[in-house]
Assembly symmetry: C2
Homo-oligomer: 300 residues x 2
């Protein structure tokens, strides 16, 4: 019933760090990414190629990418919102990008500055550049499970965005619960419908833990056979364009649940806690993932 192996895409260096106000030196970011690699993470979203005015923390995107050490099958990716970002990504030499499209007009305007239709046109041009330059283009749908501005997202609206991504030849699509509004029942309903309709897409799920439902939603996704989840070490993260945004599901809590369920992740939990400790040192504050807190209390 459940997938035997689950892929985890760590989004901490991108989704996690983008909310941090104080600039973190590039070499420290790299040290964090390297400790994630040592823990066995094979998919890492390392940065965003967006305007430094919008997300100053990630203004060193090119430098981060240039300093990455490729390691076996590791897939590093960077977020792009438009052609300019894609050109920067090409220039930096990253092999995978993710294009984010919002499922609602209001979030689309606030997050990317354009309507959904306009963003999808840009996505098509980005996919074209990707095909020409040999860069894999993934898709992500923001506020896929609910929008803080518009409320419920009709499945037809979500499907409308997915259909355009699919028609552009995109075969990896992440649905992001940007505002932490998803419920397990909703996850099951949506994944059941979309997986039937688009059976040759590798689906990913990305939950924020705003209401504490992150792992319950992952579990619902697993029941539908979803085998790729995005998470952030230490439960860091949030969207700058979502009021009261909370962090992602913590990678160490996700790995723990999967291992408890007998599902293989290829990740070493002890080394992952080291990476989380590295992140705490880097940020100069404690993080709130359950496994990190448990680890610390057990060490005392």
């Amino acid at each position: 019933m459940f997938p035997a192996k689950v892929w985890i895409r760590e989004v901490g260096p991108r989704d996690g760090l983008q909310m941090e106000k104080e600039f973190i030196p590039t070499e420290r970011k790299l040290r964090f990414i390297n400790s994630l690699l040592e823990a066995g993470l094979q998919r890492i979203e390392v940065t965003s190629f967006v305007s430094p005015k919008a997300v100053e923390q990630l203004k060193d995107a090119e430098s981060v990418v240039k300093l990455l050490k490729t390691k076996g099958q590791v897939e590093f990716s960077g977020l792009v919102m438009n052609e300019k970002g894609m050109e920067r990504a090409v220039e930096a030499g990253i092999s995978e990008v993710v294009v984010v499209i919002s499922a609602t007009e209001t979030h689309s305007l606030r997050n990317g500055g354009h309507s959904i239709a306009r963003s999808l046109q840009r996505m098509n041009r980005i996919a074209g550049i990707g095909a020409r330059e040999g860069i894999r283009v993934r898709g992500a749908v923001a506020v896929a499970f609910g929008c803080p501005f518009e409320g419920e997202v009709p499945v037809a609206a979500l499907d409308g965005v997915v259909a355009v991504l699919y028609d552009a030849g995109i075969s990896q699509i992440t649905l992001a619960d940007t505002a932490g509004l998803a419920s397990p029942v909703q996850v099951k309903g949506i994944m059941s419908a979309l997986q039937k309709k688009y059976s040759n897409v590798l689906w990913g799920l990305h939950f924020h833990d705003t209401r504490g439902l992150g792992l319950a939603n992952v579990y619902a996704g697993l029941e539908e056979g979803v085998s790729l989840f995005e998470s952030s070490t230490g439960g860091l993260g949030g969207c700058p364009f979502i009021p009261n945004a909370a962090g992602n599901v913590a990678t160490e809590d996700l790995v723990n649940m999967l291992h408890m369920m007998g599902i293989d992740t290829g990740i070493d939990p002890a080394k992952l806690l080291n990476a989380a400790g590295e992140l705490e040192d880097m940020l100069g504050r404690s993080l709130s993932s359950r496994m990190l807190r448990l680890h610390k209390s057990a060490c005392q």
Copy 2:
């Protein structure tokens, strides 16, 4: 598939407060219980009739019970471990008690000072007193999903305890994940087996959120049709005889998930947040439930 209505038993006044070192005056405890009643909670575990040496915080058990205002269908209960506690409960005039039996010998010895067999003998005598005095006796099985001392709990061992409770005429049984070791898959397996075997028991589930799996485990229980869950306002709680114990699932997070799933609880979420605020005032510190944090950040 899911139950249309779910009962929530608030265990904050007992499981939540028992870990608090500084004694909380009885009238403050009552104020907290009253705000829970105002929020619509109809099942509340209000205290423990255990030795004040073991849990000093609850040494005012009799006073708490005597000051309770009965209100409609509300079921107040107190925890008892032995005949002496049961006699105190009778004297205090509470209408329901819960007897806790551990699923493993090591936890049984540490938590209650006796073997499982001895505890079950005492439970039988307590059930006898209950029958004579017209006090409803519920059962709870501690470390039902895993023990920090013994590791995995064989289903046969769990079933062995359940069978004795059942034979004593107990028709409400809570399985408690005292150390937060349960996984959703395990919950499904155990609840499927036990509900088939003991179809006329009202099953309750009680999860600690030690590893962040509390709500995922609730969801798995709901999928098996379980309709009673125990939780603690603010996510307070922990077992004094469990190393690095973490709190219960937070009542406000549980209510939010159930309401998002369209399941009726009879509880008013806004008034519940008031009760959580009352609890914070009482303890003089912030609590970490997601809904409380979200509420506060939204208020700022």
